[in-house]
Amino acid sequence: MRVMAQVAMVMNLDKCIGCHTCSVTCKQTWTNRPGTEYVYFNNVETKPGAGYPRRYEDQEQWNGGWTLDRKGRLQLRAGGRARRLLSIFYNPNLPTIDDYGDPWTYDYETLIDAPPGKLTPSAHSISALTGRDMRVRWGSNWEDDLAGGPESAAADPNLAGLGEQVKLAFEQVFMFYLPRICEHCLNPSCVASCPSGAMYKREEDGIVLVDQDRCRGWRFCVSGCPYKKVYFNHRTGKAEKCTLCFPRIESGQPTICSETCVGRLRYLGLMLYDADKVTAAAATTDPRGLYEAQLSVFLDPDDPRVRAAAAAQGIPADWLEAARRSPVYALIARHKVALPLHPEYRTLPMVWYIPPLSPVADTVSAAGYDADDPDQVFAAIDALRVPADYLASLFTAGDAGPVRRVLRTLMAVRTVMRARQLGTGDAVPAGLAAAAGASMADLDDLYRLLAIAKYDERFVIPPAHAEDAGRLMAQHEQLFCAQPGGPDDFHPPSGEAFRDDAGRLHLGLSPRSGS
């Protein structure tokens, strides 16, 4: 057993209101620079929809992620190592800027400088790549709230397996938001695709990063990631990706997208996993078994053997404690209400989602039934192919079983709590919890986690152990700064105006004592 810790995220999709606050704050923090105009480390997609970049989920087209070769071994879908090196001059699987949308700005000066006149001036859209006028055709969020209607939404690769009738049915009643960041996968195909070895997974917390000094712009990571969460900075010629806000995580703070999420639907915490089992789990033959396989990789932080092994392998005690309190572990492994996004890509993603119950409730009330009646909702969950099948093609490689189980659990929580609030506890059918495969205590715990968990219950992030780093920094300060003539070697006389060697007058405004 090789115990490793991973900072993971869970998002509760029922609560996402599609406000894009997360995307905006992320952009302000990380990608508000030239060259990254089109880069969204965090973006929010409307489902059903083509996504960003367009149809990224269609691996027949983009060849991202892993696949199994004829002998059942794990192999990059885009081909073996030699084949990729030979295609280094032209990467056949790379999206172009038009798949993301040519980034644009507006010619605002026309508005400001227009002379008085009868006609209201209008601003042209200008390409950020060339500075020329352009026609805007596509961009992130182009199909927000199902804009573009059935035509645009039909490009969603997840619809491929669903029948015509089913498609029509849900266009009328079904829509939800899917916020996405990098999955910080346990078996990251972006890292495996990088020929320079510039991408790496951090041993301590599992964050996947690009070393900007070692990236040579070979751009295989961009096409290798099935979620298309590595982007190419067209100004610097280097790859950039979601950093899981590592400077914040290191100091025990949540990522900026989680911190600012209006729906408070994001959870951050540690997962312990057995690194020795990762490859075997990712090579599970049946894609529908990948969800269970990934669950089996996680380790129970309450298990004394796991704790002993983790301690022996140098995971600090406060991290083990945090792993125990991890809301993410509770949602993924204890209550099993969170599911991975597209496990069939075999990267073992680590941002998991609680599927939304609202599409079911919407369908039930659209059909004229009471969306609060558990009997009717339970029946709907079982009877309706939509939305369970659609959700299954997102979260369980098409196996609707786990999706139905989660939706039932969520419905049970809702029903029990509603009855309790209204004082009609007796009206809750006996065996409701059991039908959802949970105990009453489980439902209580889920209610606490999903509905009322406060900041420090949603985010349980142990700060990094930076003692060694501090020592190193001190050493470097010694090397560079405190040397005679270094920046720290400047001590103005206290409180008095004086002239430096270059003859400039300094006012002693912040006197230092003792020098």
Binding site: S87, L94, L129, T130, R202, F232, H234, D468, H476
Partner: protein, 250 residues
């Protein structure tokens, strides 16, 4: 050296050594100060259709040309004769293979240069040093292809192995034969001089990506793990670009 002008000494002795010096020192400088700028600077994101043909054809053609130069210029004529390759065979092979490489390079460079100059999205990414590199490359390619095709394939040939090659190898043994290159046809002279300019320009241009050809990808494990390390504070006066003191590990 009798009958050799100061100008000839400058072009055929000083310039090569100067270029080599700049090449070496420039790379050390670039590696230490500007690994962040060390990239192939791909423009596939902006334009893929022309690149699909241009880039592979140009690069594979260039590899062939580099191979040809190694055989023709670095390996002395006596060696090839010693292993039993007669002059006509060598000549025929070099003319045919050279022409093939020339055709590939011409097709590749026409597509790539045209794309760079005519596709607005690509042109917008082009810097001054890119233009200088491009012009020098075009000059070297043109003066390299003309003798290959018109002298060696279609004409009666010119034995550069007893002139240009002697001078070139002499540079590395410390006794360059200036007269040999100074009496070579002008097109060879321009080719050689422009090539030295490229060597001097190399460390400051995007050409550095050639040294990063990631061959070790073939052997390394797929997933790379690294543990956290502290970043040292920027050295004063480097505006954040890093200067690593040799022998100081972090």
């Amino acid at each position: 050296m009798n009958g050799v002008s100061a100008w000839q000494i400058f072009v055929w002795v000083a310039l090569p050594y100067l270029a080599l010096g700049i090449f070496v020192v420039g790379h050390i400088w670039r590696w230490r100060y500007d690994q962040f700028g060390w990239t192939s600077r791909s423009t596939q994101l902006q334009e893929r259709r022309l690149l699909k043909w241009g880039a592979p054809i140009f690069h594979y053609g260039t590899f062939a040309a580099i191979g040809g130069h190694v055989i023709g210029v670095l390996i002395p004529e006596t060696w090839t004769r010693a292993i039993g390759i007669p002059e006509p065979v060598y000549h025929w092979f070099s003319a045919a293979a050279g022409t093939l490489a020339a055709v590939l390079i011409i097709i590749g460079v026409v597509i790539l240069a045209g794309r760079r100059l005519l596709v607005p999205r690509v042109r917008a990414t082009t810097s001054t040093v890119d233009y200088v590199t491009l012009i020098l490359l075009l000059l070297v390619i043109a003066t390299g292809i003309v003798p290959t095709v018109f002298v060696n394939l279609l004409g009666h040939g010119y034995d550069y192995r007893t002139t240009v090659a002697l001078w070139f190898r002499g540079l590395f043994s410390g006794s360059p034969d200036v007269r040999a290159i100074a009496t070579a046809p002008i097109v060879y002279q321009v080719h050689a001089a422009a090539a030295w300019l490229i060597w001097a320009l190399w460390p400051f241009s995007r050409l550095v990506h050639a040294w990063s050809a990631p061959v070790w990808y073939l052997w390394r494990p797929y997933i790379v793990y690294r543990s956290r390390v502290a970043t040292p504070p920027a050295e004063p006066g480097t505006s954040g670009r890093r200067w690593r003191k040799i022998g100081v590990p972090y």
